[in-house]
């Protein structure tokens, strides 16, 4: 069965600091995509960043970047210069074997403090 594991249920970081959220996954596919979604208190699911497994270069989106280690099946999210608005649940996801769903991890609740 395909699984996505986020080992940190909760994390906190001070404003302007950097934080890294961990994610490991398991898939039998040779090519696949990985995603990080953010869910603020409003509950809206917002795409943060995505990575294609065939691309060796780590994806970046402004203050958000990933450390993708394909052999280790690791896909961590780094948030630089953390802002109060980054406070949210962060979900790591991998596209499923069928290609018609994303499998999500259990999420990491991130609190950014002043």
């Amino acid at each position: 069965a395909q699984t996505v594991t986020q080992s940190q249920p909760e994390m906190s970081v001070q404003e302007a600091e950097t934080v890294t959220l961990s994610c490991t996954y398991d898939t039998s596919e040779s090519n696949y995509y990985l995603f990080w979604y953010k869910q603020p208190p409003s509950r809206q699911m917002i795409l943060v960043i995505r990575q294609e497994a065939y691309k060796q270069q780590n994806a970046t989106e402004n203050r958000f970047s990933v450390n993708f280690q394909k052999a280790a099946k690791s896909f961590s999210l780094k948030i630089s210069d953390s802002q109060l608005g980054d406070t949210a649940m962060y979900f790591c996801a991998c596209d499923s074997n069928s290609g018609y769903a994303l499998n999500f991890g259990k999420g990491t609740s991130l609190l950014v403090t002043p």
């Binding site: 596919e29 090519n31 696949y32 995509y33 995603f35 869910q39 409003s42 509950r43 809206q44 699911m45 795409l47 995505r50 294609e52 649940m89 979900f91 596209d95 499923s96 069928s98 290609g99 018609y100 769903a101 994303l102 499998n103 999500f104 259990k106 999420g107």
Partner: protein
């Protein structure tokens, strides 16, 4: 305009009732999904449809029945509601399948409370 819209946003109902949640997307996508987020915030796929055809049907009770009248709509009907059905239900859509790296866009969620 909201890309993926679902109604109602909040629903409080008694056990045993039947209720529906409607979903529409105006992104021109051909794949739509229903996800359930439980009280621990775990997101689990329930159903996915591609061009009105059921692709994924996870181990969901038969009381849950999705209906896709066209590829822009995917409604969820729930019969004989139980306390354990209380959750946030997310509708979502994507262009084709996720193997192509297509992003799944989510609606704002429908918070169902069964009392």
């Amino acid at each position: 305009d909201t890309a993926v819209s679902q109604t109602p946003k909040y629903l409080v109902t008694q056990m045993g009732n039947d209720k529906s949640i409607k979903c529409e997307q105006n992104l021109g996508h051909d794949t739509m999904y229903w996800y359930k987020q439980d009280s621990k915030k775990f997101l689990k796929i329930m159903f996915s449809y591609n061009n009105k055809e059921l692709i994924i049907n996870e181990t969901v009770p038969n009381r849950f029945s999705p209906k896709s009248p066209d590829k822009a709509h995917l409604n969820l009907h729930i019969n004989s509601l139980e306390l354990g059905d209380s959750a946030v239900y997310f509708c979502a859509s994507s262009q084709a399948n996720t193997h192509s790296g297509n992003t799944i866009y989510f609606g704002e969620g429908s918070w169902l409370t069964v009392v």
